[in-house]
Structure formats: structure tokens, C-alpha cells
Subunit: 328 residues, 4 copies
């Protein structure tokens, strides 16, 4: 098979996530293996517009598989949202001889790639990199598994002090639109209650649940709250609300914040990233485009980027039920 594609660009875009470096490494090494040139594009679309490029060979990605963050940096880029910006980007790519690119990122990054593909018939493949697992077309996004381990490790620590003092903690985790982190980490950390953006079961239910938990003899309680929770109250307001309505508890708050994005990726994320990078390059060389690599039933699949963007990644109802049974 002789592909027309001779030089592939790779970049990371949007919020970073653990596993992005492993994906970059995989794209670079697959290019080397298949004798195609590879160019790293720094700071996402911003660097594309500025021509911030660097040729990469197999050795340039040594010892990064276990590093959090992204060696190619990431950035949000308003210019790429304009036709003028995209035109400059296209010219920069052409000047560098780049025939196609692999974009590692989330919804916003894919939208840019799709538009660019349509405007310039430029081959693009996406790899889903975000801790939120909020992308349709894949069971797991890169970084989700690592973020879950980071969150349960933090909550295990918080549990130590919570149970020493018989305290209640509200712990805020990432997830503006979807509750994947909250639900999975909540089950994994043995949380008493999990508040997610997908459903608002009301504050009364929360109070009932906490009252029951106390009566059942538990020495501490952890309530996980996704950023995008729909109770209408943030974690600090929830604390006040419970202190007022359920004064049997000594309440504390913890906002886990950006550490959820960092850290050495888990083995799962490293392996998934390695697999996805191979698939992305091979898809491009086979002449395919405008697709996102995903994993389903432990097999790699390709989904049109348009569908990936428009679809929603739904919470598993069975897992919601499991979370309720576990708090018995």
C-alpha cells in the first residue's frame, strides 16, 4: 500500500490529561515504524497558526510514556475559530509539508478539526484525551482511568481523617457536564452519596441519606459532588445547608481541583494511548479521515468525528444502582 501521506503532524489541544504523552509517543513511533515523517506541533491550534513545529523521530519520545501533562503543550485558541486563522494554519502546514494530522483532545478540539477537514479536505484523525470521559464513541477516554485513581487515593486519605473525627466531607471532583468521575470514584471510594449533573434528586433526599448513614453506625461520611451538580448549591453552600438542617454532623469541604489532571498515567491509560496512536496513524495511511479512534469491548473502533461530537456519553444506570446498594 503506497499512501499519499508522507508527513503527519501530531498535537494536543484543550485541557491536558494523563496519557497524552503516551499517545504522542505512539503516533511518533508508529510513523517511524511505517517510514512516514512525523512533526510535533506545539500548543495545539495556536502553534499550528504560528508554525511552531518540530520534527520528531523515535528517540525524541524516549521516557515520556510515564509522564503526566503533554510535552507538546496545550492551549485554547480563539484564532482557529475564524476562517482567517484556519487559512494561516493551513498555509503553515503546507509550508512544512504536513499532509495530515492527529489531534489528541476533547470535543472542542475535534470540532476545530472537523471544520478544518471540511474546508481544506485535510486528513484528520482524533484521539480522545480528557479525564472527563465525556465523549461519545469510546468507552474510555485517555486520562479517565488515571484521574479515577487519583481521586480515590485522595478520598482514601480524607477518609482517614474523617473517620478519626466522625466527620462528614463534601468532596468536589471534576465533571461540569457529566458525572463519570463522580460516579465511578464515588463507588470506588465508598462514598455515602454522589451528586452528579445528570440528575438532581434533591436536598431532602441528601439529608435523609445522611441521617440514615449516621444512624446505621458509620463513623464518617463522604459525599462526592461533581462540579456540574444540579442541586443549585456548590460544596460550600452544601456544607452550610447540612450544618443548618442536620447539626449532628461536623462538616468539612475539600475541592480536589487540578491535581486530578496530572500524575503518571495508569497502565491502562498508557496501553490505551499506545493502541490508539497506532490506530490513528494507520487510519490516515489507509486514506481514512474525519474519524475518532475509540475503544469498545476492548477493541479499537473508528467513529465519525461529527457523531462523536454530537453524541453524549451516558452514565451507566446499573452503576448508579450499584452506588445506592453499596451505601446500605
Amino acid at each position: 500500500m503506497a499512501s499519499k501521506i508522507k508527513k503527519i503532524g501530531v498535537f494536543t489541544s484543550g485541557g491536558d490529561s494523563p496519557g497524552m504523552n503516551a499517545a504522542i509517543r505512539s503516533v511518533v513511533r508508529t510513523c517511524a515504524y511505517l517510514k512516514v515523517d512525523c512533526v510535533g506541533i506545539f500548543r495545539g491550534y495556536q502553534g499550528m497558526i504560528e508554525g511552531d513545529f518540530k520534527p520528531m523521530d523515535a528517540r525524541s519520545v524516549n521516557n515520556i510514556i510515564n509522564k503526566g501533562g503533554t510535552i507538546l503543550k496545550s492551549a485554547r485558541c480563539d484564532d482557529f475559530r475564524t476562517p482567517e486563522g484556519r487559512k494561516i494554519a493551513y498555509e503553515q502546514l503546507k509550508a512544512e509539508g504536513i499532509d495530515a494530522f492527529v489531534v489528541i483532545g476533547g470535543d472542542g478540539s475535534f470540532t476545530g478539526a472537523m471544520i478544518f477537514n471540511k474546508e481544506y479536505d485535510f486528513p484528520v484523525i482524533g484521539i480522545p484525551g480528557t479525564i472527563d470521559n465525556d465523549i461519545f464513541g469510546t468507552s474510555f477516554t485517555l486520562g479517565f482511568d488515571t484521574a479515577l485513581n487519583t481521586v480515590v487515593d485522595c478520598i482514601d486519605k480524607i477518609r482517614d481523617t474523617a473517620s478519626s473525627h466522625n466527620r462528614l466531607f463534601f468532596v468536589e471532583v471534576m465533571g461540569r457536564d457529566v458525572g463519570h468521575i463522580a460516579l465511578n470514584a464515588g463507588v470506588g471510594a465508598g462514598a455515602e452519596e454522589i451528586l452528579i449533573p445528570e440528575e438532581n434528586r434533591g436536598l431532602d433526599r441528601l439529608l435523609e441519606s445522611l441521617k440514615r448513614s449516621k444512624q446505621s453506625g458509620k463513623s464518617s461520611s463522604i459525599v462526592i459532588v461533581a462540579e456540574g451538580d444540579k442541586t443549585g448549591k456548590n460544596v460550600f453552600e452544601l456544607k452550610e445547608y447540612v450544618e443548618e438542617h442536620l447539626p449532628i454532623y461536623d462538616v468539612r469541604v475539600s475541592v480536589l481541583g487540578h491535581m486530578q489532571r496530572g500524575g503518571a498515567p495508569s497502565c491502562y491509560d498508557r496501553v490505551l494511548a499506545s493502541r490508539m496512536g497506532v490506530k490513528a496513524v494507520e487510519a490516515l495511511l489507509e486514506g481514512r479521515t474525519n474519524l475518532m479512534v475509540g475503544v469498545r469491548d476492548n477493541k479499537l473502533i473508528l467513529t465519525p468525528i461529527e457523531k462523536a461530537i454530537k453524541g453524549t456519553s451516558k452514565l451507566d444506570k446499573e452503576l448508579i444502582r450499584v452506588s445506592e446498594i453499596m451505601t446500605t
Copy 2:
């Protein structure tokens, strides 16, 4: 639905794995939630024969979801392999009023359960708990994900010292019959070569690969060797062989050993264990038996224990190919 089952026993058997405690907790809490009695059986079939039982309620499994090992202990049991042993076990269960049991373990433990089920028409459900991921009927066994993280964490450390000294390390990981740990951890840790029980590509190939790795400018090399590797040489003999035939390397050996079985379970293993425990109890209450809970495409499924035992859990060919590309 009024089930005939009023009291469920739960135990762990065979080699322990991270997530077993989370599965015990889930079985116990699901029983409490569904108003069924639950009894913990200590030391697997041995404790069953000895009547080493303890009633468990929801509080008796507090704060164990994040603990490695198994609070119910595990043991291998020769007596249960005899009809006499199983007869005593049956009498002990009846005396305690136990109607059904959930066994958490691997192939050997399931075989015992299947025979017991046939002999006494006793309802049994299995949950696959083993770090080896060597069970047919499930994409993941409990403990596999955690073990992978433990292994890559160890190899990351070994890599630090290997690359400081430009050394070659042979690292032995668990896996007598299957190479799942070796292959996944090998990809995750960026190993230069992976030796697995499933295929013997010969020592010449290994030497070639190491020679090429050195020439490509890599500062260190890690070769992962599964216990059951088929080169005919163990890690120490491999070291000698390479030192003799490829004296360009300073070679060291590390045998990771039993620490691979321990440690706080990963979030994935905790969640999977929680889900499987619910499924196991519900299956029993629905009158089902002689089945193993598994996960496929992120959904829980039930497989006849007989098939689970006879089938084999094959390595993913695509991942073998990825491992080769990554060592470019």
C-alpha cells in the same frame, strides 16, 4: 420475587488479589440491601469444611474497599477435592443454614464449586478474582488492573536506575500460563522486549532486538519476562546468555514477586468488584446457579462455570503488534 434463598455464604479461595475485599463488601451489602442473611466463610473451602463461619452485616465490611488481600483469608484445600471432604462441607453449610454461596477466586476454586454444585444441587456463583486475567468469560478479572499498575510503577523505578547506568534489565512478572500481565505491563512500561508463555520467538530474535535497541541510541533496556515464558531459560539464565552473546550490555535481573498480589486496589478494580458482587447475589436470588460473573463491553454477563474453566483467555494479537511497533 420471593426467592427460596435466605442465607448466602461468601468466601475467597486460591491466590488472593486486590479487589477481593471490595467484592466481599459488595456481596455482604447487597445481601443486607435485599434482606438476605450473609455469612462469611474463612479460608475458602478449608474453612467451609471446618465450619469457620461468621455472620456479616453491612457494618462488618466498613473500610475494607481500599484494602488489599482478603479479610476472609484464603487457602488451598486438598480435602475439598475428595467426596468425603465435600460431604462434610455440605453438612457444615446446612447446619449453618447457608442456602447458596458466592466464591471469589480462580479456575481451581471454580472447579470445586462446579463439582459441589453437581453433587449437591447447591446454588453457586463465581466471581473471578486473580491478578492473572486468565479466565475465559470476562475481559477483566479482579486484581488484574491493580497488578498492572503495581508492575509499571516498579518498572518506572527500575528504569530510573537502568537509564542512569545504561543497563539492561530482565524483569520477571507473574503469569505461569498466560502473558496478560507481561504484555500489558510491558507496553505500559515501554519495555524493549516481552517474553510470554504464548509464543517462543527464540533467543536469536531477542539478541537481534537488543542489538538494534542499543544501536538506535536507547540509554537503557527493559525486557519483561513472564514466569511461564517458553524460551527454556529463567531470568537469571537469560542474563547469563545475553552477557555471553552480547557483551555490550551490563545486565541485571529483578523478580517482582508477590508484591504484585497486594496493595490498595485501583478504582477500576473497586468498581468492578462492587458491580460483580451485586450481580452475583441477584443471580442467586433469581434462582440461577453454576455461573460466573464477568464483564464484557463494560456490561456484566454470566457464563457457565464449566465454560469459564474450559475456555482460555487469549492474548490480544493487536496488542502484540502494538508492542512491537512501540519498540521502534
Copy 3:
């Protein structure tokens, strides 16, 4: 030597810290070794007043050396601040036959012990357990070393995402009155600036420093802020201030919070706790009282509790200088 003391009480009080369980274990096992009875007192002075006691033998502290928190729980207790409360506590101790106690905690807990000792001539020895390292008479308090590792581990993760996006982070760590955690973790994490309660070098200096850091080509900046920092602004206000006066930065905030108190203790804290527990029991049996065990120059020392309370634990000036040089 025949000591008059036949039964020793042990409890934890105030904020919990990693290593407290290791200290409890050491007190209990030293008592067993020296054939003295030992009684665990739950929830600090509150449990003492309520007679919440439990006899402890060597086996009752199995497998706790690596657990965060405190199996004896902790609590703050207003009643013990009154003569009436202390009288009841004394009567409870006498009724249980407790001759002396070891209190594991911080300043507040020691003050209570000292007053109690004076009022009832009751033998007491203190073990400093607090992550803040804010106690005179010891180079290290139990939990400080572990908390530092927790903090640098979190900041390493934050650094991953900060440097991927060229961001500035304000990270708040514990330390209301002293900056030990901020200073040590700041040096350990390679922070660009460290704001501590002991000195307010002004916001102008901060802006200067951040401007210089940016100019020097650093890809990210971390500023560590102790809770008790004296700039007059909390981390959120600092963020706003910098965004207004130094718009070259994209600024984020992270408040590490209570996870700093939890987690498996470091080896150092486990060893120190083991040593201090032995020393505390031996001191009591030698007829000594009203002293705190400390460590200096890697040797255990005893300091009158009164001095421990009144003295202050000063920051190391040399380390402040090191922190400045490191940000070059």
C-alpha cells in the same frame, strides 16, 4: 526496677496525623513487653470523661502501623477545660485503675495534660502528633514528614498540568501559625515563591518575582501559600490580584485541604512513632512525668511539657535562603 505504675492509658487528641496509629501500637506493645497493662481511651479527653476505655494487648494493634488516622479516634473536648470535667476524668481513670497516660497530640492536648498533672499529680507523658511541626522541643512531629510527601506529590501532579498550559498556580497548604509545611514542601516541589505566616515580604515582591520567573523562560509557576500567610489576601484574592496586576499569567488556585492529614505514614514517621512510644512508656515507668518526647539530632529527648507549649518552633533561616536560591 519496680515501678508503681501498673496500668497506662493511651489516647490521641486534637487534629489527627499520620503516625498516630504507629505510636499507639508502640505504646501498647511496649507495655506488653514490660508487663504493664495498657488501656486505650477513645476520642481523647472526651472519651476519658465518658469512660470510653478498652484494654489493649499486643495483638489488638496488629496491622495498624501503616494506617493513617487513629484507631482510638480523636475529638476536641470543651468539658476537659473545666475543673468539673477534669474531676470526672480523674474519677474515670481511677475507676479503671489507670495510673498514668500517654497523650498523642499537639499544643492544646498537652496543655490539658499539664493542668491535669498539676491538679491530680497524675503522671503524663506527651508524644507530639501533628502535621504542622509547630512544637518546641522536637525537630520533627509525627505526621510532618508524611504530610510533606503528600503535598509534593500533589504539586508534582499540578505541575504536570501547569506546565502543559504555561499556567501559574497558587496552592494553599496547611499551616495557620507556622510555615514549616509551606517552606519544606515549597523547596521540595520547586515552587517559585513561598508565602509563610512568619514573614510578609509584600505583594510587590511577589509580582517582581513572578515577572522575573516568566522572563527567565519558565513554563509554569507554582506559588505555595500557607493558610496563615500574612499578605492579607487568601489564595483566591491573590489570584485576582495577580491577574489584575500581571496579566501575562493564566492563574489557577488549588487548596489541598484535609487530604494532607491522611494517608499511610512514611517510613520515617512510622519509625519515629515506634521510638517515641517506647520512650514514653519507659519514662513513665521510671517515675518521670509532665514531659514530652522529642527527637533532636536523631536522638530521643524529653522536654518539660510547659516548655514545649511556651516555646516556638522556628523556621530554619538557612532553608529560607535555599528556597530563594533555588528559584533562580
Copy 4:
């Protein structure tokens, strides 16, 4: 103060240890801060002889404080043991304009530096970097604290599986000549017995101790064995011996190996390395030479290298006693 020294070389030598990168960073940044040139020398004395030099500025050590291993690599070097080798090394240093050097390593590396200093009157300062803590003139060497945490973390994992199966484990840790790692990690991990090079208490005592441990009701036992243990048996032979003479135990062996040298350094090691690097550079600029930086009573001190080499770093008798009491 105008020092004659204008350009300082820095290198790592001998076995690597966590914290070496933090020390390199500190030397480089202190040079930058004090306006002195700094040159990295790769692969220790070998690179010195080969002229493998690289000028380093403050930015060239970004993001290495948390990395295990050494970016300057390390090597053992036979040539430097000959006058001819040292002559070439001296000429290389002169050609590069290097006036003085900081050597980060252990006994062997310091011996080389001392001889070189005498032969060429070349200013040298040593920083003790080794996980073994076997150097006179300092309470802690760089990497010791990190290695202890790595070891107890591994043993915590082994304990999980040991106690699930009521097993006895012999765990071999590093330490050919001194038992610092074995003793401290043994106390920290709650080992039942610790076999160290410094004293051979005989196999009878070991059997007695294990028998007593079993009788006392412990569910598992961990025996820590330093590499240089003097029983005359290695861990595998110890296993056989115990199986033969004390068949009540199911015995396993684990050799932790080289992972003890790697991993992100602990906060303590990072801070100590930062302090030592400053001290080393300042000492050179003050005209001092042939000294090793150490820490005692949390203050930095300087010891003549000759004394550091000849002295021995003794085990703390008090800690040996603590280890015995803890196994009650």
C-alpha cells in the same frame, strides 16, 4: 568575596540514588545565583576522562527535582584509579576551564576525589548520594529516606498477601555492609525479625522468634534480610532452612532488588539535596576543599573526605532495641 573559582563541574558517580537530580539542580542554580559558570560532567569519572561536558544554566535543570536517577548518568570507572587516567581527567578539566568540582556519590567516588585533590591540588567537595546511608559524617545520605519509603510500600503490599494466606516471607533488601535500610524499613514495616550485617544472632534465635510469633496469634510474618546478612544463608537458603526446621509455616521469598534505587525522591531527600547543593558550591567559593557536606541535628556540616571514608556509620542501638520490643 572574590573567589578564584570561576567554573564548577558537577557529576554523579557510583550507584545512583533518588535525590541526585535535586542535588545537581541545586549545584547548577546556586552557581547561577552566585554568577559562577557550571558544567555538567556525564557518566562520572569516565566522562571526565573523555571530556563529556555540557555547560548548564538555571533552565537546564527545570523539572528534574522530582525525577529519580541522574540526568548526568553514572558509571564506574577503572581508568580513574590509575595515575594516567587521572592525568587525562585533569587535562580535560583544565581544557574546559573547570576550576573545581562537586562529586555526588558514595565512598568509592569520594576516594577518587580525595586522591585527585591531593595529586592536583584541585578543589573538590562531596555530596553523599547513596541509598545505603553508609557514610560517616552525615545522619542521612541522599536517597536513603526515599528507599525506605519504597521498601515499606513494597512490604505493605507483601503483607496483604502474606496475611491472607498466613504465610511467612523472607524479604531481601539492599545493604551489603550496613543494615540501615533493613533496620529502619523493618521497624517501619512491622517486621517480625530483621537480619543485618552488623550482628549474627544465629539461626536458633530466628526459629525461636518465629515459633513465638506463630504462637502469639499473628496471621503472617515478615523477616527482613539485608543483602550482607551474616547468617551464612541467603534468603532462599533461609526459606529452606525454616521449612525444614519449622514446618508450621508456608514460606515465600521476595528480593526487592534495584527498584529500591529508583522513584521520585521523597520531600525530605529533595530538601536535603537542595540544601547540600548550596552548601557545596558556597564551600568551594570560600576556598574550602576536600570536604563532604553532611547533615547533623538538621544543620549542614562539613567533614574531611578522608574522615568520611574511614569512619563507619553505625546502627543506632536504641533502634535495634525498639525493633525487638515492637515484635512482642
